[in-house]
């Protein structure tokens, strides 16, 4: 049995006997690997920047958990489920809430969130432009920034004002019979850039359900996806900025896959080059292979020697391909960045100072694996051809 170190030594000598041929063959696979590394790095870079942008611009650790609807049946949020959510160690705070829609007497519709105010504060950590928070079980309300602006301008409602809202209800015969409710505005929130700007916050003091949603504050951004998994496992549906990240990831998975498919064509050409080179090489060495068999090489030894030559081409092609790929990614980064920002528009101006490519160890490892696997696969046919040579015929050939 031939030692592996000897197989390596002998095949390395063979490969380096025809240096130019080896170099060109290796270059074929290296260019393919470089294309894949460059394109995947670009995909990963833009993906990471997009996700970072979402993280910066939105409140990632805030989740809104709703009752899930499955097969047309709503699965309500019970006290038991709320208890389980609250006990989750990765959740910093949770507040059950009920959404109610009111209208002013001038028919301006107002969306209100009725929740325990202490819980609301722990989840949303509100800051006040004016006034203070509400007291539990009172008529006090707080307005979001935009709502406060609208109602001040069109309804003349200001801090300290008492005002009446209508809650749409129906009598026994189905006719509208609105309920009138009195409120006092005690605070206005600072502008947040989220849904809260449009809401009115109340705390009716209600502790029993039904609740239609629970707002959850997750301890840290890393824990968001595991928390979503656990919450959804309770038969509830989670919503939040994480959904954008998920959508971006899915989109980039597809983009990277499609682009890799295109660059894969160059890999196929590289693989064919290796196969061609090895077939020629085996043909040229027919007599040498026959002599090797005469002096003791088995078919298996010949197979191992030829495949080992392909392995060298693959390793060298992988290393060179990764180096070229990193260089290619560098070119994309410096040349392509302004183009990408220009194409995507002002919303992506955050890309200006950042790298649009990201070369990770995983990408380089994949490049290496592709080069080696393709080289070995391309070598199978020539290696089998060599191993099946008939020694007496092979020695006769010149």
């Amino acid at each position: 049995m031939v030692r592996l170190s000897d197989v390596a030594t002998v095949s390395f000598r063979q490969v380096t006997r025809k240096r130019l041929r080896f170099l060109l063959t290796m270059l074929g696979i290296a260019i393919g690997v470089a294309a894949v590394v460059g394109v995947v790095s670009l995909g990963e870079g833009v993906r990471t920047l997009s996700v970072e942008m979402i993280k910066d611009q939105s409140d990632l650790t805030l989740l809104e958990v709703n009752a899930d609807i499955r097969d047309g049946v709503m699965i309500p949020i019970t006290g038991q489920k709320i208890g389980e959510i609250e006990r989750d160690p990765a959740i910093a705070g949770a507040v059950p809430s009920q959404r109610i829609t009111y209208a002013t007497e001038r028919q301006t519709f107002i969306s209100a969130l009725d929740a325990a105010y202490s819980g609301f504060e722990s989840v949303f950590t509100p800051t006040y432009l004016d006034g203070r928070g509400v007291q539990t079980g009172t008529e006090e309300v707080v307005f979001g920034y935009d709502l406060a602006e609208t109602l001040r301008r069109y309804e003349g409602i200001r801090i300290g004002d008492r005002f009446t809202l209508l809650l749409r209800d129906y009598d026994e015969e189905g006719r509208p019979a609105d309920i009138r409710q009195e409120f006092i505005l005690v605070g206005v929130l600072r502008e947040r850039g989220d849904e809260l700007d449009l809401l009115m916050i109340t705390d009716s003091g209600r502790t029993e359900g039904p609740f239609d949603s629970v707002f959850v504050r997750v301890e840290s951004p890393d824990m968001v996806f595991p928390v979503v998994e656990r919450v959804n496992g309770l038969g509830l549906a989670s919503h939040g900025a994480f959904e954008q990240i998920r959508a971006v990831n899915q989109l980039f998975d597809i983009i990277v896959m499609v682009l890799s498919g295109f660059t894969g064509i160059s890999l196929v050409i590289g693989a064919l080059m290796i196969m061609n080179t090895m077939i020629i090489s085996v043909f040229e060495r027919t007599r040498e292979i026959g002599i090797s068999m005469a002096i003791g090489a088995s078919s298996g030894d010949i197979l191992r020697l030829i495949l080992s030559e392909c392995l060298f081409i693959g390793i060298a092609g992988g290393i060179l391909g990764n180096l070229l790929g990193v260089a290619f990614a560098g070119v994309i980064n410096s040349v392509g960045r302004n183009f990408v920002i220009a194409e995507l528009g002002a919303g992506f101006s955050g890309f200006a100072g950042a790298d649009i490519v990201m070369v990770t160890p995983e990408i380089l490892l994949i490049g290496m694996v592709i080069a080696i696997v393709l080289s070995l696969l391309s070598g199978i046919y020539p290696a089998l051809k060599a191993a099946r040579l008939h020694p007496a015929d092979a020695i006769r050939s010149l």
């Binding site: 002998v10 007599r287 040498e288 002599i291 090797s292 005469a294 002096i295 090489a297 088995s298 078919s299």
Partner: protein, 221 residues
């Protein structure tokens, strides 16, 4: 003395018409120096290839050192080539990218002999054939006679009981050819290694223990 080679009614047919060997029965004793002669196409090389386990007969049997060769058993064929047999070919038989000593070591690689041991044995063999000073030369840098000396070293390095040489002097001038013949004869005398040499040059017949004449695939008395 025991027979190292025994063939019984050996036949080799190529296609339908050509009968390269037709009922060849020979016996070679251990330590003999045997030449196989005949015109071109008489079946000499075919006989050598079959005894050397490089080709398969279409009829008859071959026994090497008492054991019948099963030509369908690749494992046995490879094992015989590694341990019992050494080959010397007519020309271009060295691996061009390897030095003389690496060429001599080469068969030992397939038997899994460690590098230091291989190196030592290769040097001993090159010394035996008198070209130790050429150990680091590539085949292209050696004369025809020197290349054949390297080939003989390579054939002997695994310490085989039988060396098969196919026209070993075919590509050499008569002086060099004569030197190669006397080298093989002296190795045969000193180490007792059996030599079976295929040739069509009458000069080589001198001093042989047995001469096998072939014509049209048959033994000629």
């Amino acid at each position: 003395m025991a027979a190292i080679i025994q063939t019984e009614d050996l036949q080799k047919r190529f296609g339908r018409e050509v009968m390269a060997l037709d009922g060849v029965t020979i016996s070679v004793e251990e330590g003999e120096y045997v030449t196989v002669t005949g015109r071109s196409g008489s079946g000499k090389s075919t006989l050598l290839n079959i005894i050397g386990c490089l080709d398969q007969p279409t009829g008859g049997t071959v026994r090497i050192a008492g054991a019948t060769v099963d030509y369908t058993n690749q494992h046995q064929l490879v094992d015989l080539r590694r341990t019992r047999l050494g080959f010397v070919f007519q020309h271009f038989s060295l691996i061009s990218g390897m030095t003389a000593s690496e060429n001599v070591e080469y068969p030992l690689i397939f038997s899994g002999v460690p590098k230091t041991e291989r190196k030592k044995r290769a040097m001993e063999m090159l010394e035996l054939v008198g070209i130790l000073d050429r150990a680091d030369h590539l085949p292209g840098e050696l004369s025809g006679g020197q290349q054949q000396r390297v080939a003989i070293s390579r054939a002997l390095v695994a310490n085989p009981s039988l060396v098969l040489a196919d026209e070993p002097t075919g590509n050499l001038d008569s002086t060099t050819g004569g030197e190669i013949i006397s080298l093989m004869k002296s190795i045969n005398d000193e180490s007792g290694t059996t030599f079976l040499i295929v040739t069509h040059e009458p000069g080589i017949w001198i001093g042989t223990d047995q001469t096998i004449h072939l014509a049209d695939g048959r033994l000629v008395a």
